[in-house]
């Protein structure tokens, strides 16, 4: 007997506004998102966190450690098939730690080094990290239309032009013919 419809308790999920904002980075400007799609993706995110955490936690227990670390989380993602995330996350973590170290060692100096464009650093690992053969050419196609996945730090219009080509010229299944 299936359980009664669960109340969609907001505190179990990422805030819907944040989820939508991230979705909008992918979607072309004219795209609409149904409410049930937003909720479903919200639920999927929480499920993802639980799924990865479970695996990370098991590893900690096997190794008799009490604290789940960032490394455990990234390791679990690699183990559970999200190996394409490992490199960008590792770079992200390294940058984060460097910034934290700067904060403690540069007391009294401006912390925000505006010359550093983290966007550029975030871009590089996206390319090589996405292995085409594992993902049925999804990211291959995305790159083919002008790097939809690439946050182009230089061009303000880069996002929208990528979106245009994605919808106008893009045959998502062309490479499967």
């Amino acid at each position: 007997m299936p359980p009664p419809c669960m109340v969609h308790e907001q505190d179990q999920y990422m805030p819907i506004a944040n989820v939508i904002r991230i979705m909008r980075r992918i979607l072309p400007a004219h795209a609409k998102i149904s409410d049930d799609a937003k909720e479903t993706i919200q639920e999927c995110v929480s499920e993802y966190i639980s799924f990865i955490t479970g695996e990370a936690n098991e590893r900690c227990q096997r190794e008799q450690r009490k604290t789940i670390t960032a490394e455990d989380v990234v390791w679990a993602m690699g183990k559970l098939g999200f190996d394409e995330y490992v490199e960008p996350l590792t770079v992200f973590l390294t940058r984060y730690r460097e910034t934290e170290n700067e904060k403690t060692s540069l007391r009294g100096e401006p912390i925000f080094k505006r010359g550093i464009d983290y966007g550029q650093m975030m871009m590089a690992p996206y390319g090589p990290a996405f292995h085409m053969e594992n993902h049925q050419g999804i990211f291959d196609a995305a790159r083919a239309v002008g790097g939809y996945y690439y946050r182009d730090a230089s061009g303000a219009g880069a996002g929208s032009s990528s979106q245009a080509s994605l919808t106008n010229n893009f045959d998502p299944f062309g490479q499967f013919k």
């Binding site: 990422m14 979705m23 955490t53 992200f92």
Partner: protein
């Protein structure tokens, strides 16, 4: 909503902030991590931070795949069925099959 501090630079993908603030709430992430199992004890401070970035990647991937289904149907509204199709078509999303099959 812009949060000053090291996080916004890293997580926004650029200090210029062109991409806008999108920090996923760390306390909420930690709460969900704790709920994932009775035996989850301690979580390092960095774990929710790496998850916030991972969740962005996850949402982007799921959205991208769902939208391809929408386009295949020559529609402009991404609906729940498109998400379901994307989940079913992607091996690494197997853990979501039950979730999208409910209701």
């Amino acid at each position: 909503m812009r949060q000053a501090g090291a996080y916004s630079g890293i997580l926004c993908g650029g200090i210029s902030g062109r991409t806008g603030p999108h920090l996923l709430p760390l306390a909420r992430i930690k709460k969900i991590m704790k709920k994932s199992g009775d035996d989850v004890k301690m979580i390092s401070g960095e774990a929710p931070i790496v998850f916030s970035k991972a969740c962005e990647l996850f949402i982007e991937e799921l959205t991208q795949r769902s939208w391809l289904v929408t386009m295949q149907g020559k529609r402009r509204t991404l609906n729940k069925e498109d998400v379901t199709s994307a989940v079913l078509a992607t091996d690494i999303f197997d853990f979501l099959v039950n979730l999208v099959s409910e209701t």
